[in-house]
Structure formats: C-alpha cells, structure tokens
Symmetry: C2
Subunit: 219 residues, 2 copies
Amino acid sequence: MSVSIDNFLKNIYLLSQETGSSVTSSILAERLGISVAAVTDMARKLGRQGLLDYRPYRALMLSDKGRKMALKVIRKHRLWELFLYRVLGMDLMSVHEEAEKLEHHTSDKLMEHINRFLEHPDFDPHGDPIPGIGGNVPSEKGVVPLSEIEEQEKCKIKKLRYRDSEVSKMFETFGLRKDMVLKVLKVYSFDGSIELEFPDSKKVMISEKLADNIFCVKQ
Amino acid sequence: MSVSIDNFLKNIYLLSQETGSSVTSSILAERLGISVAAVTDMARKLGRQGLLDYRPYRALMLSDKGRKMALKVIRKHRLWELFLYRVLGMDLMSVHEEAEKLEHHTSDKLMEHINRFLEHPDFDPHGDPIPGIGGNVPSEKGVVPLSEIEEQEKCKIKKLRYRDSEVSKMFETFGLRKDMVLKVLKVYSFDGSIELEFPDSKKVMISEKLADNIFCVKQ
DNA sequence: TTTTGTATTTAAGCTTACTTAACTTTGTCT
DNA sequence: AGACAAAGTTAAGTAAGCTTAAATACAAAA
C-alpha cells in the first residue's frame, strides 16, 4: 500500500478520535497539508476500493476494512515509538517523526518481532494505546482531559499529546511526564487556564489550550 | 532525497564493487528492473546535480558527492541488517529485504543511535563492511573468492552474498555460515565445481556459480 | 421560499518516475 | 575505410499524486 493511502486512512481515524466528531474533507486536507481537491480525489478512489464509504458532500467514514488498515498503521507507528524510546533511548520529541516514516515501510513480520521484543506492550511512550493485530484497542477507561478534573483534586497523567515540536518543548520545560501525579489548584473560568501543583510542591500555570493535550485519571 | 535517487547511486557503487569493472546503463537498468531509457533520464538528471559524471554513451561514474551519498545509504542498510539480525533475531534471509526499505527512511540521528547500540560494528551479518560516517570502508584485506583457494587448503568464510532468496536457501541447506572453516578438497576444471569438507568432516560439492558468492580468508 | 456564503466537486494542468518505440552513436569486424 | 550490431539517447505517452481555478451543492438566514 502507498504511503498516501496509509496516511489518508490513518488521519481520518485519528481525527475522529481526537475531535469526537465527523471528519470533513477540509479538516483532513488541513491536517495532511494538501488541497481539498486532492482529498476529494483520493476519497473517491478509496471509496471505489471499499476502504471508506464515500458520498459526495458528506463526511468521510471509514469502512471496516479501512479502519483495520488505519489501525494497523497506527499499531506500527506506536510500536516504533516505544521501541525507539525504550530500546534506543531516543527522546520523546524525536520518536514521533521517526515513526511517521518507518510505519509505512515495516512488514507485519518485522513488526511482530518488535512487539515480541517489547513484550506485547499496550501503550506507547506518550500514553496512546497500541492497537492489537486484530484491531482491538486497549482500554483507556477513566482517562479524561485535564480540564475535567475538579479544583483541589489529584490526578495522574496518562497521556500527553505531542502534536508538534513546540508543544513537546513545553511539556519538557514544564517537566510534564507520563504517570506524574498532579493536583489541580485552581481553574480560571476567565480564560480556562489551570494552576497545577507538582509532586515537589512546585506550582505552575498552564493555558487551556495546552491543558487540552494532557489526559489523566482521577486519583 | 528520493528513494529512486538513493537506489540509483547505491547500485552503481555496489555493481562496480561486485564486478570490478565499469557500470553501463544496461547493466544498471537490469539490476534496478527498469528500462534503459529510464536510466539515461535519471543519469542526466543526477549529472546536472553533480552526483555523477554523466557523459552520453560512456559508463556511469559516481562523483565524490555521489559516492558519499551511496555509502551513506549502504551504511544504513548494513546497520539495519545487523540490528534486525542481532537484536530482533530475524533470520538472515529476511533482513536484506527489510533493510532495503528501512534504509531510505532513517534519519542520520536514528542511525547513530543504532550504531551506538551495536557498539560501532564493522561488518554486517553477511560479512559486508559497514562504511563509516565519513565514507571510510573497513578493510577486507585477505578476503578472496572461494575459487582462489588451492586444493587441500583450508579457509574461513568471511562473506556470503545473499543475492536472492534461492541462494539464501542454498546457503542454509548446505549449512554454510560466516566464520565457518572449510577445506577445499578438489576443484573440477571441467565446470568449476568445488568439493568442500566441513568442520564435521561432511563433504559437499558446490557449483562454480554458488562458489562465486562465497568469500574467505586463507587459514 | 429565496438568497447567500461556505464547503465540495470538477476540470485542466504540473511533476516525477516510469514505459515503448524510433533514432543515433560507438566500436568492432572485415 | 565501410558496414553493422549493440548500446545508448530521444521522443512521446502513462499513472499517481498533487496543484489552482471555475462550477456546483448544501444548509442556514432572511
């Protein structure tokens, strides 16, 4: 399968997960950095191939076959991320872009070697679930956006969305890491910013937009 | 850099090493599985980019810049092969085709992580030298084709050329492996076939063509 | 119900890496 | 030297994956 098709299907899946709503041509075009016309073209093509249910002017919906392909690419991506992080010691800021390339050029056989080496992990180093070979996605029960935590409540970080290098850098400079326990001190309704207390009692203030990329479980 | 360009330069380098003579358009076309016209096109293009010294109707010669690029791809290929073999336990017959894809999608940074993990190896699992970052190739002094060993002489296998899956299978069924010590019992000038004795005293006969893919040092 | 603005599709065209087929150069053989 | 076969080049065309610009559908407001 071509890199284009892989990325197309993968990003439809990821966008629908991230936003919780339907994926339009323009949103996908924006995400892939290509024109809306190119998305229409590809969507029609993948519709013919039975990878998605394409209807003009409607949102993009993956078929079962398409979702399976998307999950397979995501599996490869996340296994690579964990491998690069845990085995080769690459930093969290780099593993995403490396995995972004490797995921398309990895045979199922090689992937299962890596899976075995890592002892069948369920989550990647950012906390995202690694889909199984059959397409089953490990549960994230109880994982909610940081904004849903009440004032004075404690929670543990379960997932950090490294959406780009700037956000990655912010996580790093704030010292935010997976499995860290935080206390939400105050939520300012004025702009949605949140004041947090770290395990070492250090206090910081983060914006609503950054908070949207942090997910945790209540303690 | 595109996969096409990488492969073009890499195979010019490899062919000139393997055959010891100059690389023509038709030989390269055959190797890459594309038409001669496509080779001419690409050669002209890479000539303009200063990656090779292109002159119509003459053999293809890499420039310094082109050779460096070729060696870099070969370095990636061979480091991947060793990594897949030694760390992930893949079989020798598979590592080549996996590396063939990965080599084009591996950053220099990732490659150096792998190099460090493997503790700066000099040879891949087939016995081929791994070029250094600067383009220096580890010495293969004393390594000669099996056909150059005299009758009754002993030698140690240093390199096996896994040119395709059939040859790989033959190595496997004969039990030929790197660092194995062989004795050449008889060379038949009629067809060039060679009778060998294994460490366990087992005797086998191999064809000249297979012997051409075995390289060793005299003991 | 008609208007209007936004989203989507269609159309035409570009680039890369190929193809086949026709043509040209080279080097060898007599 | 001349002819010829082999090797290489040029020309024209294809498919994939894009682009921009013009045309069309949809949905929400008047």
